[in-house]
Symmetry: C2
Subunit: 338 residues, 2 copies
């Protein structure tokens, strides 16, 4: 039960604690023979270093806190894998916390991470953030912070996200290239930056092509199938001349919901209505009409965010920057291709 300490090894060998410490952490100024004896004793007694004590004196934990709003959705696990890959190689551990999209819980998580004296924090915020004081406090304490995917700008932290605006513009342009003129957008909550960016990209694609932006074709869907279904249902109540011929959904689940509404109405995809999503959900290629979408390179986001964080922690590249990862357009059939 009681763990072996340096002190015990020292007493066993009639040495001082310091010599044992030096020997085990490979410092110089230790006699070769003494070092051998110490290593042997450490091994024999089953010594395990105590990083808690080490952290206390060195003021460094080699631990990074991660705050995600969701774990189940396939995007975040993939990001975490990217984070893990980089941090593992740099010798850091991960404390994973899950806010469950709950601001209160996120706040708790962050203050626990602070109390555990993590060397840095990676955050993807909850959807309903209103109060930035928690994040600002971290910055004030000079605790390195990097946001990913769901960012908070202009508070002095770095942020890694995908190029939502450009990607959204790109995929909308793709529909326009197919000749569609009446295009609807199923938007997410505008409290979340990605929703705003995707909406902006959608609008700018229309503008660039001198197409009219019709407000009644921009409807709220949220991020889930149910919302997409409802939003599409609403669009389908329009008289058929006013109805959109193509739809840009804020993400794939919303698109799936919309597709269901379209089928229910007895319409065909893409013949009657074309649709594109965003996120390349694992189900996207398996839909009756496979969904054209934007793949978010989650693994790369995780890698970039954790790399930036470690750079800050190790004092290499401390100035806040906005890192943008390009999304890939994945062409399938729902847009009208092939």
């Amino acid at each position: 039960m009681k763990r072996v300490t340096l002190k015990q090894i020292a007493e066993e060998l009639g040495l001082s604690v310091m010599t044992v410490s030096r020997a085990l952490s490979n410092h110089s100024h230790v006699n070769g023979e003494t070092r051998r004896r110490i290593l042997a004793a450490a091994n024999r007694l089953g010594y395990r270093p105590n990083y808690i004590a080490k952290s206390l004196v060195l003021q460094k934990t080699y631990t990074i806190g991660v705050v995600v709003p969701e774990i189940t959705h396939s995007f975040f696990p993939e990001v975490i894998r990217g984070i893990e890959e980089v941090t593992y190689n740099a010798g850091y551990q991960l404390i994973l916390t899950h806010s469950a999209e709950n601001a209160e819980r996120e706040k708790n998580a962050i203050s626990t991470l602070e109390a555990k004296r993590v060397d840095g924090v990676l955050i993807s915020t909850v959807q309903t953030v209103r109060d930035y004081s928690v994040y600002k406090e971290l910055i004030r304490l000079k605790l390195p912070v990097v946001f990913f995917d769901r960012c908070v700008y202009n508070i002095g932290a770095s942020c890694v996200s995908i190029n939502d605006r450009e990607s959204s513009q790109l995929i909308t342009q793709h529909l326009i290239d197919h000749g569609y003129k009446k295009i609807a957008h199923l938007k997410g909550s505008l409290r979340v930056s990605i929703s705003r960016a995707r909406l902006a990209g959608f609008k700018s694609a229309l503008l660039m092509n001198n197409l009219e932006i019709e407000d009644h074709l921009i409807v709220n869907a949220g991020f889930h199938e149910k919302g997409g279904y409802k939003a599409m249902k609403q669009l389908l109540t329009l008289p058929s001349v006013k109805r959109p011929r193509a739809v840009v959904a804020v993400n794939d689940p919303a698109a799936f919901g919309a597709m269901e509404a379209i089928y229910e109405k007895g319409l065909k995809i893409p013949e009657d209505i074309a649709i594109v999503g965003f996120s390349d959900d694992i189900r996207a290629p398996l839909m009756p009409t496979p969904l054209t979408t934007i793949r978010q390179p989650a693994y790369e986001i995780g890698k970039a965010a954790s790399q930036k964080l470690i750079d800050i922690i190790e004092d290499r590249n401390i100035k806040p920057e906005k890192i943008v990862i390009d999304g890939d357009i994945i062409i399938r059939k729902s847009c009208g291709c092939r």
Copy 2:
């Protein structure tokens, strides 16, 4: 940068460190007015407790180590969500490590967790474990350990897994009830306990129904689509009288691969060959013929494992036990059901 400590608050107010400590951790024997002053000062100075120091003196970190072989696959994220739910409510944090199915990396992860003095460890082992000494060492140190999904038995640790044998028997029985007599099994690596259990369940269902176990109908597929595809291809080279009329795959990906091989041969599912999987992959309901499978209640596994671990840590229910969670059979069409 320099964080505020109890000592600073104490000096500020002309009190001793101990009084401040007591006031902030809600102990008795502190004057109401004094407590108020201390709280105010702590707040004003931006005091954040240092759990590292606390952990050192209390010999307790309120941290649990989790070792998973994979993060991307939807099963583990779901388990982690279950773990997180329980540990969050019990006031513990999670250090997540990822072995990437690599025994060396798993070993490193475990010894780092040990060094960080986690209060307990949850492990799902790598596929190729040969050396149990790492786990045995944990037990010897009396560090609470609970295995989940991929277990190591008979070394004195608890284990939470799904009832693989019974579930496999159940789903095989389901095929037998459809009247199939020639049933094949695509098995996984027998080094992994779940493969052995599923094979055993398959065999015992046949035995219970006096059906012959034909060795050439039990083929190696591994856990991925490619292996399933190859294995099925091999079965399909049999002359059609010797060919199986139904297939029990070790998991869903293997079943997907097999389904592809069946379609390629121009055969129909379930009319020509029925097939069932195991794991209820997110893609299972979306296949051209939706796949009948066993749902593994990942969230429940996570909850049960972490609950057991916390019980051990808090000395409530320390004796090792084998906890079995029932899998649910999810009936779709690939088995021949309507």
